[in-house]
């Protein structure tokens, strides 16, 4: 088993994709680590689907308010210049194409950028805001382990898990590498330290486009 990047390194890599002044939605779990890696001097407006633009970070102990939480139901803070709004407006931001970037997890991503991240066979299905994000966000980056816990590829030719959205993923950051989704398929962009092209190929269930530089 190749280690590659740890979660913090993946979050840091994802954070590098965030432009100054942009509006960014972070999925529950690993993507929230991105909060810690926004470069100083950049103004980033973090959107939480439950009705906040300008999330600051997780609330310190003693400062938690029961009516101020993020999409993962964790108590959070807000920045100066934040705003609160109801769910219809929050999802208008996503569905209407106003959110610049969403960073989320996945069970599977296909070579075409199709996304599966809401349910699996035998699982109680839960959807939350995932399909709305997939339907409307300008750019979606997936942060995930390159394979499942038992070593099966999560990057596949065709999804076998139920679809969240079609052709919606732009970029994938895994512990092994960074990939772009293009018309030609998945394009290798960067390799994690200590990871070879062959490692990526061996752990990927779809054909890869490997640029000459590798």
């Amino acid at each position: 088993m190749i280690a590659g990047m740890n979660e913090q390194e993946m979050a840091q890599r994802a954070a590098a994709e965030i432009r100054d002044g942009s509006y960014v939605n972070l999925g529950i779990g690993m993507p929230t680590l991105v909060l810690d890696f926004v470069p100083a001097g950049k103004t980033v407006f973090f959107h939480t689907e439950n009705g906040l633009l300008g999330m600051g970070g997780f609330a310190p102990k003693g400062a938690a308010h029961p009516d101020l939480v993020d999409a993962g139901k964790q108590p959070v803070t807000c920045i100066k210049g934040a705003s609160f709004f109801p769910s219809d407006i929050s999802f208008a931001m996503m569905r209407g194409g106003h959110i610049d970037l969403a960073i989320m997890g996945a069970y599977q991503v296909s070579a075409k950028g199709d996304l599966a991240n809401w349910t699996a066979p035998g699982m109680l299905p839960s959807i939350g805001g995932a399909m709305d994000i997939a339907a409307g966000t300008k750019k979606i980056i997936i942060m995930m382990s390159h394979t499942t816990k038992d070593g099966k590829p999560k990057l596949v030719r065709e999804l076998t898990y139920p679809v969240t959205g079609y052709r919606c993923v732009s970029m994938i950051i895994t512990n092994l590498c960074v990939l772009d989704v293009s018309e030609k398929g998945l394009v290798l962009k960067e390799l994690a330290a200590g990871v070879s092209v062959q490692d990526v190929i061996d752990n990927t269930g779809a054909l890869l486009v490997i640029p000459e530089k590798f």
């Binding site: 938690a64 308010h65 009516d67 139901k73 609160f84 109801p86 805001g129 399909m131 709305d132």
Partner: protein, 229 residues
């Protein structure tokens, strides 16, 4: 001067009967009508259809909010976006004891608003081509697939606001708004609980989030648990 105020939660829900379809505001534990939920539990009302983003919330080993109604077997059907929020729901669902109508969160919000706004249906891309669109009409709009979604109403909406006045005007705080203002528009009878209940004219009319026309009953909540350290 009229007033929509009720003295307590049990009084405000006196006519909520078995089989009622009820919307509950809140996301996780933020903005949930916790006093109305407790009152409904005490009242023993059953065979409910519950519309809410999640069927209660889990914090550590405890479950709060709507979970008490589910655990007591009072709910026959749940319509919402995030049932995995509690373990109790999964147990009931796996045992075939509760129905589930899963709706993407943004579509849930928009369907509820549509009911309140007199919209007969609307098209969204959300969910097109997925399992959640199986029985839904589709339509190509500018070359992209959309699905037709229906308005969603209820007999009652239980909502929670930070402050309210005797005319039913409501003001929310932080992320406590979420589904509350939408549900207030979409039910036959909307019952609002607030942390502070004031005379008309105290709240700035420019900052009211839910105008009183959408609220039929209002009360000051008996007790507000804060849950977090």
């Amino acid at each position: 001067m009229i007033t929509k105020a009720f003295g307590d939660s049990l009084g405000a829900i006196h006519d909520v009967g078995d089989g009622a379809i009820i919307m509950f505001g809140g996301f996780g534990l933020a903005g949930i009508p916790q006093n109305l939920i407790r009152a409904l539990y005490e009242k023993g009302t059953k065979d409910l259809t519950v519309i809410s983003n999640n069927p209660g919330s889990r914090l550590g080993d405890h479950e709060y909010g709507l979970a008490i109604l589910f655990k007591a077997g009072r709910v026959k059907k749940y319509i919402g976006s995030y049932p995995t929020a509690t373990r109790s729901f999964k147990e009931l669902y796996d045992a075939g004891k509760v129905g589930l109508d899963l709706v993407p969160q943004g579509t849930l919000a928009e369907r509820i608003r549509a009911k309140g706004a007199g919209i007969g249906g609307f098209y969204v891309k959300t969910g097109a081509g997925t399992l959640l669109a199986r029985d839904k009409e589709t339509r190509l709009i500018n070359g992209e697939e959309y699905i037709l979604e229906q308005p969603l109403g209820a007999d009652f909406a239980f909502v929670k606001a930070y402050k309210g006045d005797l005319y039913g005007n409501l003001v929310y705080q932080y992320t406590g708004a979420n589904f509350n203002p939408l549900m207030a528009m979409a039910a036959d009878i909307t019952i609002a609980e607030v942390e502070e209940l004031v005379e008309p004219g105290i709240l700035d009319p420019n900052t009211i989030h839910t105008p009183g026309i959408f609220v039929q009953r209002i009360l000051k909540g008996e007790r507000y648990d804060r849950w977090y350290e």
